[in-house]
Symmetry: D3
Subunit: 142 residues, 6 copies
């Protein structure tokens, strides 16, 4: 789903993003665009399940200044995901393991690292690097 907004202030858009995510959108993002009459504007993009399209369209029409929403169907290739836990000097961090046709990717959860960083009063980067090192050792042992 997409809508071009040239008559809406940025303040309101932060609010709309929160509402769309709460209403079940997979993802919501803004792209800066340039419209006619020298107007800087924002394109609002919403990715959702087909079954949520109508409810999210109504939310966009009610909460933003646009009078039209355009939409299209996309196909998706998604990796399978599961979670493991790695132990770092700062505490446990959840690791997202994604797999697809021989590809394996492991990424520490940012939210976990950020909350450890806040509690331990250390930079987020240090926690994140420690989590990466911990998962590397996990591999060698596993």
């Amino acid at each position: 789903m997409e809508a071009n907004l040239d008559d809406q202030a940025g303040e309101g858009l932060g609010y709309v993003m929160t509402q769309l995510l709460a209403a079940g959108a997979y993802d919501v993002y803004f792209t800066s665009i340039q419209m006619k009459k020298n107007r800087p504007a924002i394109k609002l993009s919403v990715l959702s399940a087909p079954s949520d399209r109508l409810a999210l369209t109504k939310l966009i029409l009610a909460e933003t200044s646009t009078i039209g929403v355009r939409y299209q169907t996309w196909h998706r290739t998604i990796m399978r995901r599961h979670f493991v836990t790695a132990t770092t000097p700062y505490g446990p961090v959840k690791i997202k393991v994604a797999t697809y046709d021989g590809i394996i990717k492991k990424t520490p959860e940012y939210a976990d690292c950020a909350s450890l960083a806040r509690i331990q009063q250390v930079p987020l980067m240090m926690v994140y690097q420690a989590a990466l090192a911990a998962l590397e050792q996990l591999d060698e042992e596993g």
Copy 2:
């Protein structure tokens, strides 16, 4: 319709936007993108009726540096619109009333507010706020 332009100066693009709108495009907008070889570039997007696609494609090929145009069909959900007139201390302002499934939105026409602001030598924001107040009172009376 979309085309990526990395060998066209910005000056020419302002001209092309005017021409595409004059030729019947619903909407024309630019998105800044980054292409290969460190080239900043512009994606030109055109929304139009399917029947205008061929004429607008020819216009893009003739007036821009691109040698290809890609296109796709979108569906649209559009609110019904009509106009009423509100009276402000600065003069009359046309109000766009948009309705869809119980949602009602009223927005003052910017062009009207801007021309009143110019004539009355007051900031556009004051005229716009007065128009919003006037339409709020319209509701209570109506």
Copy 3:
């Protein structure tokens, strides 16, 4: 203060923004830029009091991937501000009144409108427009 970041993921930047604001920065914003070797990057900009510069510089160096921060002094022309309260059908809304050399601007506080919208289950735009109408009537009475 400014720093160019081409080796930092966006996830970490949201975290840094929160921390810089908590540490006393007036304003923090990101600008998308394009650096060498086809790298999309982010310029982090921080506006602060001169007395906070050192502490905020250390925070940027500790929390982001940059190894340098550049800075400059800006002058500012700021409007005087006070707050009044307007009554809307949805509840009271704080209004920011800003004045400077004959210019008077009144803007409803977004946070107030957003919390009323959430409580009353109505679109934020309706609350905001009602607040604007209420402040217009405030003028006529005052």
Copy 4:
């Protein structure tokens, strides 16, 4: 001069740009930025003579939602300019000749090319290329 705007719709900004240029600004441009609370915003930049700063500041404060404007002094290195006229198959085109320390640049005026393109009903690119060819021959003869 710079101001960050997160509570102003794009429609109003096109109007402000026109007004600032009419009031004597050398150049006015918008940069898309990202502010706190997920707000997409616009940075308004104005380049002007120091003597116009106060009047343009008042215009920004009156016409936009910002309550503060920051400013700084820049130095400039500017090429000397004069104009010559080149003859193309479509009509005469003014050529801007800029010189600085041995560098000579000649660029056809876009406005002239655009008006010839409109009158002769040919693509702007053809007129522009013809103007470039004409100025190249100018060199050989001169």
Copy 5:
């Protein structure tokens, strides 16, 4: 094909662009977007033949932080192309001639102009303008 990336540094993206082009993508470009939680992010877009889709999808999943790729089919209108050579004072330059339904566009190859500019130690703009002038004379003779 498209993927939104909010947990990947810009450095890695330059590398991915090179790899995708080497693997047969028609075009690869980045768009700056704004995602939830104040995260600046990059949308990676890849245009390719349908037959290359699977291989390129695997490359994106292996080399970037995303765990999903979405895709869609676009139609394209492409001009026919051939090349001629123009003679400039700096050396020969290949000219791309594109034709479609009566439209003819001629553009000097940037790579040729850039290598001549490097060899002759002159600004690229001078070589480019000379190439445009040369192709204009080509027309008159032809």
Copy 6:
């Protein structure tokens, strides 16, 4: 140093970036801006030593379409840097160690990781994560 460019194609700008870096600029980056008459444009920013300013200004004036360059002096806070080498399963990787007032940051050199990834035919992300893990172990031993 800064220059606004609205009459230059993106192709030429990639070339200019390479030349400015070769001529000694610390950093060169592009920002997408929106100028008058609906023109999308690029702001070219160059960071350099004061002693290189004149030569780089001449290069900008000779190679781009701008007829003016503006400049300003910035102060900088820079971390001290040295390099160590870490051993990964894919080969040795140079690690940049930056220090400032108690802050220590270690980042693997992207160029090293990228060349190992190419030689070993593995994803760059795997090499980069291995380098981060290796430097974490370096700490424990050191």
